[in-house]
Symmetry: C2
Subunit: 551 residues, 2 copies
């Protein structure tokens, strides 16, 4: 069996028709949901690109692997799905974005060169890179945001797009009176991107994926990782005006949220992207573009599924559709992601398992509390292995996919390290204090903030919109203690004993006695003779008397 691990960037959980969107029709996402299981309560372990992805790729929480924000390198030696799957004879390939930053210092410290296979895999977060392109080719006075090569820009140049940075000038810009109308500016979101639709990012990466599949026998896991619908919010015709004012929901926000808000929430509500999304003209421009980008993703998914179907590969390919985090789009007075409201931290999670054991659950929705770290465990089990649960902190979803009801977690955790953001500066926080923790039991959602702040608390049963912070004004709500106990229990988890599995330890027990470690004997009668035989015999030399007898 092969695994197609498909990730979209910044795709909200509710912007799919199978998740109930009233206007955005995504028949191909729905098709996979119909073939498999749609998990309706899936949460990422950090609602920001880099950290979320590191959690997916290691199967470990952000504070277990330490790559807690964008640009924080994943420490050398941290094990990834590539490591686990290759041990089981399954290759692990990348097509697209990871946001991985290599631990160059660590690699140098261990003498790993980036051009060895081992070094390259360390630098690529455990993947063999078919295509590595993180999709954001921003450029400013200090240079490119991403200093690696861009296969996508090279493709565009090869197709005749006349620019040093065609990603910026064509794929992510429209035209306004013969001037480049950059997609960085929301004003331009409703313009068609100045590119042939088939050359835009999503079709390009889909073509690379089809090419990969045609050239590789399995078993493989391929991480197909699209940049869209992440900003810049601009999409080529015909998607740019497929949606309009009639399709834009009212923002889900309430005045009460702005009244004595949690200080961290308050700082975010005042930041630049939040201020932008508080303006209705921004939402009116951006949301149709965002929907158009998703529609294009759905059409391209259809192209990929058709290819699998036409080549009879659906029968041996597991398919996962997910996202690294959501997008507020003006809900809660915010833009972007970062915090823990559903719009940000909850993601689509649709999984198709082709095996007959999964027949019973096809087309169902599962509301178990899923964490993104569960995918690593799921892939190991799908590849025929035993989940190394002293390393991978997630749990395999295979039982759910097979219609079983396993023992399951009582709460989901997510974390956010905002130390590198203006909000941390605004709040006057030392970097290590700019950290948030979410504990969600399926009904109550607690956000703990380091740095001496009060928490936030929502009851999603009575307040599904998460407008009423029950911890406002420092109120102590009875459910807080229970959720703080869960957070404390999670804080005591065993996350670093990565060199000894549970089985290893059970095997170790009682062995040292058979190797002469016997520190509890009075006279040796306590143990069988064979254990003490090496400590007996006639003395050969007597050094006490200073008299070295011969033997």
């Amino acid at each position: 069996m092969n695994i197609l691990f498909i990730m979209y960037d910044q795709l909200r959980f509710d912007y799919l028709s199978c998740a109930g969107h009233p206007h955005l029709h995504t028949p191909n996402f729905d098709r996979v949901a119909h073939m498999g299981v749609r998990f309706s309560n899936a949460y990422v372990q950090s609602p920001i690109c880099g950290a979320s992805r590191m959690c997916y790729y290691t199967g470990r929480y952000a504070s277990s692997h330490g790559a807690q924000w964008n640009g924080f390198p994943l420490r050398v030696g941290e094990q990834t799905i590539g490591d686990h799957l290759r041990k089981l004879g399954m290759d692990c390939w990348l097509i697209g974005k990871t946001h991985m930053v290599a631990d160059a210092d660590g690699m140098a410290r261990l003498g790993l060169s980036a051009d060895s296979t081992i070094g390259a895999r360390q630098a690529e977060c455990g993947f063999d890179a078919w295509v590595r392109d993180d999709g954001l080719w921003g450029e400013g006075p200090d240079g490119f945001y991403d200093e690696k090569r861009s296969p996508y820009n090279e493709y565009l140049k090869g197709k005749g797009y006349d620019s040093e940075n065609p990603w910026a000038d064509y794929a992510n810009a429209g035209i306004d009176d013969e001037q480049i109308a950059s997609g960085w500016m929301f004003r331009n979101a409703d313009k068609p991107a100045n590119i042939r639709e088939e050359d835009s990012e999503t079709p390009w990466l889909t073509s690379k994926t089809i090419e990969f599949i045609e050239e590789h026998d399995g078993p493989w896991c391929a991480h197909v990782s699209f940049i869209k619908p992440h900003w810049p919010y601009i999409v080529p015709a015909p998607y740019h005006n497929m949606y309009g004012a009639n399709h834009i929901p009212q923002p889900r926000r309430a005045d009460v949220e702005r009244d004595d808000p949690h200080p961290v929430f308050g700082a975010y509500m005042e930041n630049k992207v939040a201020s932008a999304f508080q303006r209705e003209e921004v939402r009116q421009k951006v949301i149709p573009a965002y929907m158009g980008l998703i529609k294009q993703c759905d059409d391209q998914l259809g192209r990929l599924l058709d290819h699998l179907e036409n080549t009879d590969r659906l029968k041996d390919t597991m398919i996962v559709l997910t996202s690294d985090h959501g997008d507020y789009l003006g809900d809660h007075w915010l833009g972007e992601k970062d915090l823990f409201h559903e719009q940000s931290v909850k993601v689509p999670m649709i999984i198709y398992d082709p095996r007959s054991a999964a027949d019973a659950a096809r087309g169902t929705t599962c509301d178990a509390l899923v964490e993104s770290v569960d995918l690593a465990a799921t892939f190991v089990e799908a590849a025929g292995g035993k989940v190394p649960d002293h390393i991978i902190e997630g749990r395999s979803l295979i039982p759910w996919l097979h219609g079983e009801v396993p023992d399951w977690r009582e709460y989901a955790i997510s974390e956010y390290d905002y130390s590198a953001t203006p909000q941390a500066v605004k709040l006057g926080l030392r970097p290590r204090d700019a950290r948030l923790f979410m504990v969600f039991d399926g009904r109550y959602k607690l956000m703990h903030a380091e740095g001496g702040f009060r928490p936030m608390l929502f009851d999603l049963q009575t307040d599904p919109d998460e407008f009423n912070d029950l911890a406002k004004g420092g109120k102590h709500h009875p459910e807080m203690d229970r959720l703080y106990d869960m957070l404390a229990q999670w804080g005591r988890r065993m996350s670093q004993r990565v060199t000894r599995s549970e089985d290893d330890i059970e095997t170790m027990r009682g062995k040292s006695g058979r190797r002469g470690i016997l520190p509890f004997m009075y006279d040796g009668s306590e143990v069988p003779d064979e254990l003490t035989v090496k400590y007996r015999g006639t003395v050969r030399q007597d050094h006490v008397k200073g008299d070295d007898k011969g033997s």
Copy 2:
């Protein structure tokens, strides 16, 4: 300045005259205490050889580095004092024991060969090994406990000791009617070890240390790590009978401890070594030998200090005297270490800083709550560096050594993973549930036990003997909440963000905008022109119309 980081194994905090021992006179330990500062409240982060040492050598808690018990390899890539000090131009050498187990799987995964400098240092816990000898050459039907070479055994053979394992047959055995009287058997503890005193372990390692000092210019940190007074409890003449019945204290234990004990404590009280030490004849044999071993350590320390003095090296050598854990010796109905009573988890910590800034504090006792992980921070600061507090979890003791009163911790933490022991089997625990946590605020000591057990709680102010478990019978003591809050706070600590320091993050802040990441603009007027200049200009090709104009 050089650093002599001297560690004894299993040396109780109170078996020194400067700590108040009424009979054991240790003038050389006292001499260093008089030259420097004696820390009277120093705690190890795991009261067992292997895990304690890994904490010392990384400056990190056991659940941060994961090498939580004897034989658990320290994961490849984990940074050690060797890494930190070499960056500052200070070599880092080993003379003696570390109990380090190399992460062979991890090294293979990263292609590190054990015979490269990098690989050797990984395998030796970051040290360059002048002498590596872990001091326990037990042998049983399954072979040697330690499969590495033994420089000490090689030395003894070279000196004519006739045996395949002279450590067992001579250094750690006496003579009983011409038979080997093994030191593994407590019955033999009062016999003189069958070896010339100058060839026994402590003098041998001291000679190797003096040799090292003579051959190495600084700056260096040398970890001089003795096996004694760890068992086998046997010592050569004249030390074997220097102490006797008059010098053995009553065991510090009470019947109330055995009444409805905490299940983990109860399991330990029933184990073999505890049962042995509950017999007064065992204490009568062992304790004088233990004292003799310490007396020999003190005499040899004197030899080393005299050498430093005679070669005028005291003026540029920092000296640290400490231990990896204690020894119950029958107190609390126990033998060995493992749990968190003072006899086990508290250690000597005597530090001499030769610099004039330390003059003000010479000869003083400091009762600040010290953790063994503080030494790594202390050494980095002593070597002239800034403590990498995103990696090292301890705090530098230099301020205390210089007579200052820095902001300090409110509680000390220790952990114990007993998953590989018979007690975990007896209690029917999964390995990951066999874990204990200590939180000590200087007065109240809480022991939390995973696996669903109640905690233990002591008030050392009203019950300095730690006989009265305030949590017995599941009682909820008001102080528990406060200590559990401390444990929860510690559980949220940032321990894995090892690739980005606080300074790195402060430097990162706000930089992406200057590299073209501008996801919040309506029309570009929000930022200076220089940030958007790359996104402007005349369109060269119009792909919207399908009409590629020339430029």
